[in-house]
Structure formats: structure tokens, C-alpha cells
Symmetry: C2
Subunit: 223 residues, 2 copies
């Protein structure tokens, strides 16, 4: 059996790089919609889904979704919070996914989890753009310590090597896309037409056009 | 049997977004190293590899590599040049790849081509970031017209739908990474340690550090 843990940072400070295009309330709603997409991608693949956060609004929204909330207590940083959550859960295999990867639901996560479940002392990692980690599956759940921030992809690789953990790298384009900048939203318009996130952005009157210049890959406009 | 076509734009105007960090000569060498990586990723998968270009230096470098050069003649744009190249080749299945996707060699291209070869009237597409197309495999070679520029990923999808072509989408993180900005080079440092492109960047004294801020995902520095 396997569980998923979704760490969510406090809503009021999150996604500040989207300030130019979205109000605080809209950024909060965007995060909730992305969380819904991530939940949808995980729900048939995991026996339990947990959200770890220090934000009461996130925890109560999660409870409504059918996700088990883990309130953070005295945790210093993301790795500490994840460690705390990992100790709380009972399943032997755990998948860690951030809340801002809505295109994850286009992948078959159940198949990836099965791969790791079927081999003791193994892990699976999906890169994010920028050297990060957007999916980490561990069996058993404490085979390596979560080591996010910085080039976490390289840190996780090195920890697996050092601990002789069988490592599967799954280089998924969809899972690599975390949403932080207006530019990032463009990918949702191309690849995420079936997501809650896309519908919410459309509701807000946001759309996108191609731009291939030094200024970036997308033009993002709002009515 | 299948062929690959690599379109290469004139060296002197290419990769202008890297001006701040690389001289013209270095940008030319970067393109050649990326072309070498793309060639390496394709060579065991295709019976013939073609480069289509109007640049004499590219054409002669390609010939040295063992690639068949197709000089562009009176072609108006990229799509026109590709159309011209497709008509010249004899194999029934063709793979189109830009020259600036060095991480392509981390994927098993032979397996992807086989998939398309085994099914008449089929195509396979890999997205690039920004709504583009970084790999397009067609069987037969003229089943749809290449439609690059703008959101070509969506254009190719629509053409396949309209022409009832069986379409495989292969969302590869590695193939999604085309190199246009200093920022893009960061991915080579994380995922491309076995590439010619990486070795060339290291030779130039370039390295990278993590940065998670509005300014981007990587700090790129040069000694």
C-alpha cells in the first residue's frame, strides 16, 4: 500500500511571482485548483493522500477534498515538514508531490508507484525544470531523507547512490512543469485543457499567445 | 526504413539570446556541439540522417559527421525547407528534430521510431516548452505538412486529427528542452553531463547555481 504527501506552503505568501497578473485571493484560488488537479492525479493510485501545511485554510480545504490534513508543528523548513509527515503515515511506500504541478494528472501515477512498490529499496524521481524534484517515490518511505531546495534532483540522486537504492528516473515533461510565473501558465493552455487550473484561468479571462523572443516563450494576457 | 531531418538555421544569426554570455564564434561552436549530440541520439535509430540548411559551414560540418547535407534553395521559411527535404528523401518514415535539443540523446529514439513504423498512417510528437514541437515522426513522411512556428504543437495535433492520423504524444522532459537562453543552459548542467554540449560549456568556464526567484531558475556564471 502506498500514500502520497503533498506539502503546501502558507497561501498568503505563495506564488508571489504571479502578483502582476493575479490578486492575493486569485492566487489562493489558483493554488486550490492546482491542488485539486494533483489530488485527481493521485486519488486512484494511492490508498491515502495527506497534505502537510501550517495554513489552516489549506488544511480545512484538504479535509473537504477527502485528503488527510497533517498540521505542521514546530517544523523548521520543507524537509523537516516532510520528515514529520513521513513518520506519521503507516504505508511502506510514499510519493511526495508539490501542490503546483497540475499537469501531473496527465500521467499514470499508479503505474509509477507500482514500479517502486514491486522492488524493495527503490526510488523513482521526476525532475522539475531548474534542477528540482517534482515527484519522489520511496520504498521504504525512509530509504533516503527528503532533501528539497537548491538542486534537489542532484541531491536525491546522490543520496540514492550513497545508500545503494535502486533509482528509476522518469523524465516526464508534464510532471516537470511547476507553476510559478505568468510564463509557466502558458503550458497549462497548451497541455492542460482538461484541468481545473485551466478552467479557473479561463474564468479569470486569461489567455496566451506564442512569443519566441528574448522576453520569453509566451505572451500572457488578461481581458 | 526511416530517415531523420535536422533543420539548421544560418549560424551567424542563430542563438542571439546567448549574446550576453557567448561570442559569435562560441555560439557557432555551441550549435555544432548540440548538432553532434542530436546526431549521436539519432545515428543508431535511422538509416540516413539529413541536415537541411542554407549555411555552407553547417553543410560542410554535417558532411564530415556522416550526415547528408541538403542545401536549401529558394525556400521561404522553415516549413518550406522541411517540405523540400521531405520530398528529397526516399524512406517512408521520417523524424524531424531541431539541432538545439542535445538532451534528446538521453532518450531511446529507435523505440519511438519503431512505434510509428509499425503503424501505417501514424505520427509521434514530443512537445517543447512554449507550445512548440521538438520531435515529429511521420509515417508516411507526407501524412501531414510540417507546420512549425507559433504553437506548432497544437497545429500538428489539429492536422493529425483532421487527417485521421493515429497520433502518439510522447511527453519527454529531455526532448522538451531546446537551448535558446542562458537560463536554458542550466538544464545541460543538471541532466547532460554525458553530452558534447556540456563538455564545451565547461571548457568555456561556464557553470551554474540554483536560484529560485523571479529572476529565473538558474544563475549562469562564466569564469
Amino acid at each position: 500500500m502506498s500514500s502520497a504527501i503533498i506539502p503546501v506552503s502558507p497561501l498568503k505568501s505563495a506564488k508571489s511571482r504571479l502578483k502582476k497578473i493575479l490578486t492575493l485571493e486569485e492566487r489562493k484560488n489558483l493554488i486550490k485548483n492546482m491542488l485539486l488537479d494533483v489530488y485527481t492525479g493521485l486519488k486512484n493510485a494511492c490508498s491515502s493522500i495527506y497534505v502537510v501545511s501550517r495554513d489552516r485554510e489549506v488544511l480545512s480545504f484538504s479535509r473537504e477534498l477527502g485528503v488527510i490534513p497533517i498540521p505542521e508543528e514546530n517544523t523548521r523548513d520543507l524537509n523537516d515538514a516532510l520528515q514529520y509527515a513521513i513518520e506519521k503515515i503507516e504505508d511502506s511506500t510514499v510519493a511526495i508531490v508539490p501542490a503546483d504541478v497540475p499537469l501531473l494528472r496527465r500521467e499514470n501515477i499508479g503505474r509509477l508507484i507500482k514500479k517502486v512498490e514491486n522492488r524493495k529499496r527503490s526510488a523513482l524521481i521526476c525532475p522539475s525544470r531548474g534542477g528540482g524534484t517534482n515527484l519522489l517515490i520511496l520504498n521504504p518511505k525512509d530509504i533516503i531523507k527528503p532533501s528539497y531546495e537548491g538542486f534537489s534532483f542532484l541531491k536525491h540522486l546522490e543520496l540514492c547512490r550513497r545508500n545503494r537504492v535502486k533509482l528509476y528516473i522518469y523524465p516526464s515533461f508534464y510532471i516537470s512543469i511547476d507553476i510559478n510565473t505568468p510564463e509557466d501558465l502558458g503550458e497549462i493552455f497548451i497541455h492542460g485543457k482538461n484541468t481545473y487550473t485551466y478552467r479557473y484561468l479561463r474564468e479569470l479571462g486569461i489567455s496566451t499567445f506564442p512569443r519566441h523572443s528574448s522576453a520569453g516563450r509566451f505572451v500572457i494576457v488578461r481581458d
